[in-house]
C-alpha cells in the first residue's frame, strides 16, 4: 500500500499553518513522523549575555506566556546557586503562591484546548472562564494578568498586602465547585474514555529513554517531580500529593493535570493563610565568580537554567531549557501506529508550549497538501461524534 505524507496543521484553533510536523501515513495509520521547529527562536540565551542579572528575569519571562513564571523562578534559583545564600522565608512563600497559581491557570488552559480539539466546546468555554478568576487573583497579587515580574535574584520584587489575601482566598475557593464538575465531566464520560484511553501510549521505559518530564512522564508511572525530589520554595511546609498514573495514554495525562489543579489550590490556600512575616529580599549585591543551576517544576515539567558568572554584573552564559524540549521528541514513540484523527490530541497531550514547539507541517509525497490543520481538528471531532453515536449517546 502506498505511503502518503500528511500535514498536521496548527493544533491551535487560531494559529495559521507553518510547517512543522510531517506525518507519513499508510491508509489511516501513521507510520512515521518528523518535525521542524525554529519558528519561535528569538535568541534569548544570547540576549541574556548583554543584560544585567536582574534584567535577565524580564527577558526570560517572555520565553513563554503560559508558563511565564517558571523561567524567572528557575533563573533566580540558578543565580542563588552560584554561592551559598538563603532566600527569606516570606519570599519563598510568595514565590510558591505565584508558581502554583500559574500551574492552575496553565492546566485549565490546556483543558480548554483539549476540549476544543475533541469537540467539547463547552469544556473549552468553562475552563477558560474559570481561568479568568485565576488571572484576577494574579492581577490582585502582582499587578498583571500575565508576566508578573515578581521574581528577582534574592527574593521577590513586590510584597503581598494583608488586605488582598481574603479576596484571593475567596476567588480560589470559588473555582473549586466548577472544577469538581469539570473533573467529573471528564473522568466519568464514557465517550472520552473510548476516545482517549489507550491512545498515544508511552511506556515507562520510553519515558526514561527520552528523559520525559512533568505530567507527560508521570502518566507513564515515572514518579518524579522536582517539588518532591529537590524541594524548593515552601513545598515542604505542607502535605500535598504527587499525582502519578501508569497507563501512559492521553486519558491519564488529562487526569493528572486535572488532579494537580486541586493540589495546587491546596498549596496556594495554605501559603496564603500561613504567610510568615519578614523581609522579602536577601539583597544580593554582587554575584561572585562561579556557576549555578536552578531547576523547578513548571506546569509542563522541569525547567532547567544554568548560569555562569565571571564576577561582573552580566552572565557569561545563560542556558535555558524548557520542559517541552525534552517532551517534544516523545512524539516518535506516541504517534507512530496511531490514526490520523488521533494525531492532534496526542500531540496536544504533551501540552507543548507553543513557543517551544511551533507548528506542524506536513508534506505530501508529491508535494500536495492533503489535509490542513483545520481538517485535522475536524477529523478529531468527527471521531468523537462517531464514538458517541456508537454508544447510543445523547
Amino acid at each position: 500500500m502506498g505511503r502518503t505524507v500528511i500535514p498536521i496543521g496548527p493544533y491551535h484553533p487560531l494559529q495559521e499553518e507553518p510547517e512543522f510536523f510531517t506525518l507519513t501515513v499508510e491508509g489511516e495509520t501513521v507510520v512515521d513522523i518528523d518535525v521542524r521547529i525554529g519558528y519561535n527562536h528569538r535568541g534569548i540565551e544570547k540576549l541574556s549575555e548583554s543584560k544585567i542579572f536582574e534584567n535577565c528575569t524580564f527577558v526570560v519571562e517572555r520565553i513563554c506566556g503560559i508558563c511565564s513564571t517558571s523561567h524567572p523562578y528557575a533563573f533566580t534559583r540558578a543565580v542563588e546557586d552560584v554561592f551559598p545564600m538563603e532566600v527569606p522565608i516570606r519570599a519563598k512563600y510568595i514565590r510558591t503562591i505565584i508558581a502554583e497559581t500559574e500551574r492552575i491557570h496553565s492546566h485549565l488552559l490546556w483543558l480548554g484546548l483539549a476540549g476544543h480539539f475533541l469537540g467539547y466546546n463547552t469544556v473549552y468555554m468553562w475552563a477558560w472562564k474559570l481561568r479568568e478568576e485565576i488571572l484576577d487573583v494574579m492581577e490582585i497579587l502582582s499587578g498583571n494578568r500575565n508576566n508578573y515580574a515578581m521574581f528577582k535574584p534574592g527574593g521577590v520584587r513586590r510584597d503581598i498586602r494583608a488586605e488582598d489575601i481574603p479576596v484571593c482566598l475567596r476567588k480560589i475557593e470559588s473555582i473549586l465547585p466548577t472544577l469538581d464538575m469539570l473533573k467529573k465531566a471528564v473522568l466519568d464520560d464514557p465517550v472520552l474514555h473510548a476516545r482517549l484511553k489507550g491512545v498515544g501510549v508511552m511506556t515507562y521505559q520510553q519515558a526514561i529513554d527520552f528523559s520525559a518530564l512533568g505530567p507527560t512522564s508521570r502518566a507513564s508511572g515515572v514518579a518524579r517531580d522536582v517539588r518532591k525530589d529537590s524541594p524548593y520554595g515552601a513545598y515542604q511546609e505542607m502535605p500535598w500529593d504527587m499525582i502519578v498514573t501508569k497507563n501512559g495514554d492521553v486519558f491519564d495525562k488529562a487526569v493528572i493535570r486535572i488532579l494537580e489543579t486541586f493540589e495546587s489550590a491546596k498549596i496556594v490556600r495554605f501559603c496564603l493563610e500561613k504567610l510568615p512575616d519578614g523581609p522579602i529580599d536577601a539583597n544580593i549585591k554582587d554575584v561572585p565568580v562561579g556557576e549555578g543551576i536552578g531547576h523547578i517544576e513548571a506546569p509542563r515539567g522541569e525547567t532547567f537554567h544554568y548560569v555562569r558568572s565571571d564576577g561582573t554584573n552580566r552572565p557569561v552564559r545563560h542556558k535555558v531549557r524548557a520542559p517541552t524540549f525534552m517532551n517534544f521528541p516523545t512524539y516518535k514513540a506516541t504517534v507512530k501506529g496511531q490514526t490520523i484523527s488521533d494525531a492532534t490530541i496526542i500531540l496536544a497531550a504533551i501540552d507543548p508550549c507553543y513557543c517551544c514547539t511551533e507548528r506542524i507541517a506536513v508534506k505530501d509525497a508529491s508535494g500536495k497538501a492533503l489535509y490542513s490543520g483545520q481538517d485535522l481538528i475536524r477529523l478529531s471531532r468527527e471521531k468523537t461524534e462517531r464514538l458517541r453515536k456508537g454508544m447510543g449517546g445523547r
Partner: protein, 140 residues
C-alpha cells in the same frame, strides 16, 4: 479607503497570525472570544482561513523562519485587508530588537494600520484598538 472596505467592516472577519511570539498576546486575543470579553458582540468573527480575512491580527517579533510564511500569507490575503499589530513585539520587537534572529520589525514587511502596545495588552485594550480602527475606517 473604499466603500468596499466600509461594508466589510460592518462584520469583520478577523484572522490571527503569530510570527514568533511568546504566545501571551495570542492567549489574550483568544481570551477576547471567551464569555467575559466576548468580541462577537462587535460583530467580529474568526475567519477559518486567511482567504476570508478582513482584519489580520498579528503578534510576534518576526523571526527569520516566520517571515517567509508571513510574506506568503500576506500575498494570499484578498486586499483590502487591515493589519493590527498586537503587542510590543509586533510593534517594534520590544526587547528582542537586538536578537540575532529578529532582524526586521513587522511594519517594514507588511503595512500596519493599528498598533496595540502592551506586553501583553489586556483583552480590553485589544478590543478597544480594533473598535477604534473600525470606527476610524468607517468614518473616513
Amino acid at each position: 479607503m473604499s466603500l468596499k472596505l466600509k461594508a466589510l467592516l460592518k462584520s469583520p472577519w478577523v484572522f490571527h497570525l503569530s510570527t514568533g511570539s511568546c504566545n501571551n498576546c495570542d492567549i489574550e486575543t483568544l481570551d477576547c472570544l471567551t464569555p467575559r470579553f466576548d468580541i462577537e458582540r462587535f460583530g467580529m468573527l474568526l475567519a477559518g482561513s486567511i482567504k476570508h480575512a478582513d482584519v489580520l491580527l498579528v503578534t510576534g517579533s518576526c523571526n527569520r523562519m516566520s517571515v517567509e510564511r508571513l510574506k506568503t500569507l500576506w500575498e494570499q490575503v484578498p486586499k483590502p485587508c487591515l493589519v493590527v499589530a498586537i503587542g510590543t513585539c509586533a510593534g517594534s520587537r520590544g526587547l528582542f530588537i537586538d536578537s540575532y534572529n529578529c532582524p526586521h520589525p513587522l511594519d517594514s514587511i507588511i503595512p500596519v494600520n493599528v498598533y496595540i502596545p502592551g506586553c501583553p495588552p489586556k483583552p480590553e485594550a485589544i478590543m478597544a484598538g480594533v473598535v477604534q480602527l473600525i470606527q476610524k475606517v468607517g468614518g473616513a
